[in-house]
Symmetry: C3
Subunit: 466 residues, 3 copies
Amino acid sequence: MKHALIDPDRLFPADPTTRSIARTLYKQVAGLPIISPHGHTQAGWFARNEPFPDPATLFVQPDHYVFRMLYSQGLSLDELGIGQPKIAEPRKVWRIFASHYYLFRGTPTRMWLDFAFSTLFGMEKRLSAETADEYFDAISAKLKTPEYLPRALYDRFNIGALATTDSPLDSLADHQAVRDSGWKAKIVPTFRPDPVVDADYAGFTDNIAKLGEQTGEDTASWTGYLAALRKARQRFIAMGCTATDHGHPTAQTADLSKNEASALFAKIVSGTSNAAEQELFRAQMLTEMAAMSLEDGLTMQIHPGALRNHNRRVYKKYGRDVGADIPSPTNFVHAMRPLLDRFGNEAKLTIILFTLDETVYSRELAPLAGHYPSLRLGPSWWFHDSPEGMMRFREQVTETAGFYNTVGFNDDTRAFLSIPARHDVARRVDCAFLARLVAEHRLDESEAVEVARELTNGLVKKAYKL
Amino acid sequence: MKHALIDPDRLFPADPTTRSIARTLYKQVAGLPIISPHGHTQAGWFARNEPFPDPATLFVQPDHYVFRMLYSQGLSLDELGIGQPKIAEPRKVWRIFASHYYLFRGTPTRMWLDFAFSTLFGMEKRLSAETADEYFDAISAKLKTPEYLPRALYDRFNIGALATTDSPLDSLADHQAVRDSGWKAKIVPTFRPDPVVDADYAGFTDNIAKLGEQTGEDTASWTGYLAALRKARQRFIAMGCTATDHGHPTAQTADLSKNEASALFAKIVSGTSNAAEQELFRAQMLTEMAAMSLEDGLTMQIHPGALRNHNRRVYKKYGRDVGADIPSPTNFVHAMRPLLDRFGNEAKLTIILFTLDETVYSRELAPLAGHYPSLRLGPSWWFHDSPEGMMRFREQVTETAGFYNTVGFNDDTRAFLSIPARHDVARRVDCAFLARLVAEHRLDESEAVEVARELTNGLVKKAYKL
Amino acid sequence: MKHALIDPDRLFPADPTTRSIARTLYKQVAGLPIISPHGHTQAGWFARNEPFPDPATLFVQPDHYVFRMLYSQGLSLDELGIGQPKIAEPRKVWRIFASHYYLFRGTPTRMWLDFAFSTLFGMEKRLSAETADEYFDAISAKLKTPEYLPRALYDRFNIGALATTDSPLDSLADHQAVRDSGWKAKIVPTFRPDPVVDADYAGFTDNIAKLGEQTGEDTASWTGYLAALRKARQRFIAMGCTATDHGHPTAQTADLSKNEASALFAKIVSGTSNAAEQELFRAQMLTEMAAMSLEDGLTMQIHPGALRNHNRRVYKKYGRDVGADIPSPTNFVHAMRPLLDRFGNEAKLTIILFTLDETVYSRELAPLAGHYPSLRLGPSWWFHDSPEGMMRFREQVTETAGFYNTVGFNDDTRAFLSIPARHDVARRVDCAFLARLVAEHRLDESEAVEVARELTNGLVKKAYKL
């Protein structure tokens, strides 16, 4: 099918030999099911299966990639309808977005959106002030049809597995509802314990208490708290969960004695801990989580390095996740050592490391993953989840860690409609990288085909046990 | 016009498709006027409009890019005539330079010089020991003709605006003289307050006193000092100034209370401050300057990260700016926070950030500029003001910050004759980058034309209000 | 000669114009003798000239690049026969390796091995579980023939000079035996004093005592210790040594007064020093070594930044050099200053800097080497000794430091049979980089030929005085 806004050769190198190889490789993986082991879609969408609302609510307001760029150029978050109450009229928001769509030139957001506009909604002219209403009307109309309901799109996207990200306190009722509905789809939760291990998290003390209630354990004591976490993990596992996720400010780990850990926990739950103690507690909890993963088999994801809510005024007015998270320098080689001293050599444990600091790709992550049996490298992440970012990841990691210590692609998205676009970009960039290796006689084409399939499907299934 | 030393396709990718697109884009911007918003040329050249002296004095002795490379290979600064008194005979210096010209292979200096030799002086053979005298004679002869006087070259270079960099204590008499001469050229000063805000700057205490005399304010008091700076800025603005520039060792900012700042200032002017207090004072002054910029509209440039005068012996003997400034790791994400907490959300304020530490492009600068309305990204700078450096800047910044949070090119040069060469390199690299996006179907060619024009002229005029 | 496993155009860019230039350049350097100024081959191999044992002992067990990848994917070091006693049967080890050879796709190890398999042993099918025995038998048979004895291979490899790396305590008897044998080969030792300057080195105190015995100096005193080092250097120089090598955890240098240094040394040899004192002593010793180099002319190599034995369990069981060394962030700009303050301006001193932290290429190393007459840049090293790593080195270093502040290639290998493959990769990548400069009209082809020859042979001979 021909699409006006996107070219079938997009993201392939211009050199004809390399492009031709990239095309051949891409053909082998283009039709493979999407395995999405890490993201922020909502199980509730599929449980309820209600129509998505208008284009502004769908494409602009939930996507921090979109509104942070608009904000950086002087538009106010209020006029974009960000925050509560959402008073902005959707069509007006859409027109503002459309008339500033040129700002996204050269960004992955532009590629993701054009893909959706083109393949899902059949748009043929670039979004702009002139085409704003045409887009709004066409998309609005289609969203009301059965073919655009969440479950229909899930099937249309050829998704083989989809993991959400959930608090240990989540009832998982939406996941249960999807299961009960009889609809055949592999949608599983991910255990993200930040709200109950990070004392700096809003509502931490209440969360600990609630965890106790939910599990019937005494979470005021260190042993009761650990037992509660074990039970919560089992509850997630029963719902198909195969992985945990840890979004700490740093990659620091610790390996305290039981007495030290118990005393630290007492300080933490007393509400009198300082920043250093909270950091040490998060560090210790990564090691505790690794211990539990060794028991129950959950794959562990560590996503460190985001300085959350850098913009205090925006955070105060609009809350979390409004685009003001900024990466910061991240050390793994010293920080991960306490955990690795205990569990690094466990081949049955899988710990996937992510970074927002690209300097560690070749210096720390590839050497660590190229040695420790427990370690794997997550794909380029967040700001680096882009054609150039993905290419830098492969170029800087492969020579030391190889392909087989990586785990395929994460879309990590809150924007359900961007999932096929994001996976398509990842597949194309991987094929472009492999095509260069083939064109430069560093890999046979038949090997590249095998690797392309592994990067698309094989490695992710293995690492995440999906 | 054909030039023997430079090829019309230089810096365009070799792949024919991409090269052809790059050519098309370049044609659209090659003839645009040069906007040079940041550099170290001297207003006095244009005020006096006297001939430039011989080739050695013009090309070798003022250009730290040139003599640092020669020095690194064992030539002495004395034999190059660097420092006082300049006893070296120009022709001898030129011969040394010519016979070591091969050292510059692969460097931007070589490209800049060949451009000038070829387009300005019509040289057809590469500079070498053999051609040294031929060059020296040809260039010397031309420099004496009216066509090579500063104003004639300014016009020939098609410069639309040129900013110098000036101390707050500068009388700006040369700028006044240019204005008074009736010659139509847009040459404006830039307000660089380092000599009066950096207590580590040579002559700081005297500078403060002189600032007081010039402005009629009591610069012994914190409020008088701030008032004096305000007046000095107004004096610059009257002469066309649109921007300030801040060359601090780090990007640290601070936001002290009025009492704290006042006490710190007292310590600083007393001459008893330690290094930490001086750093805190510079940090505070960045925030004060931002406050004044919000009042008077001057765009703010922050150029941190140079460890000045790394080579103590060379500094002791030859003074500042003799090639021994070395970049050092630079943090923005924590350092800029105090200033951003106060002014980061001001869309009317423009703060342009530069770095000598390329690791911050994708990790810190692009995410910050892709969020805060007040922030823009300066081009790749100094050591990175080169084809590979410029390409890394675009590749690492664009996907997160887009093109529209950048501000075009700065030549930042003390070498007037290199200005067209430097801008030409920047235009070519930008076109090469855009051509790849087009060839890989990430941008339409018509969009790339628009962006190329913005990168060349539009964004710089807007950011610097020129 | 045609080789099934390796293509004559490998590592050349796919664009036909650039590839054609790369081929032309490569032809000029492909046949030049190998100068190997830094590595870990054993003089004893050439002294004794005995056959290399079986393929597993030759290719798998001594090569940490090989077994760290296998270990990272869950294979045990015991089944690979790593460590003592080597109980694993070589053919079994080889089969394991062969069946996991696909793990090395995209790595330089794969390129090096295929080169040896193909050019030395005439293998025509890729190594795999299916071809494992065929390889084992063919290689085993050839290793027993005279053409595969160490000296025959040295000659066949066209090695012009080969430096080993040796403790100051080494008798150099093997080097003497090579000389005494009458065989014409330039095999020289390198003076690596880590065992007697690093108090954290196993056996440090005994080493100091042994140094005293060997030299007849009182190494319990600071002056005696320095005198002993001078004598040991002279002993190495008598055996052809032209360089020292320093593998410190950091690049820290110091310049203590004689009294301070003497007191620090007393603390160090007393065995009561703490980590900070040991670091300061290593730092001081770099400066002392530079002072001695200025006297005796030995070129100095500084290889900082490896965190040795990161995996404590593996270290405890298997000892040093078992693949668990991990790079860590490395600072040069502040760390090298004490040494540079004293000796940086000495054009007769050559200090070659290496890094495992690529972020310093453009930020610190190129600016430092592009200024200080004593400094040169070593090639990309260890984890970065790879096609992408070498290309990043040239791209990030050349524009500031030029080509002539670099020193050619180091193979740094323990795997003798990989030497031709490694040098071939380096020559090809350099030619590919130069070809791009030529294709983009940044360098004339005739200049590129000159530079290619310098990068292959000229600069290394000059920097290492070989």
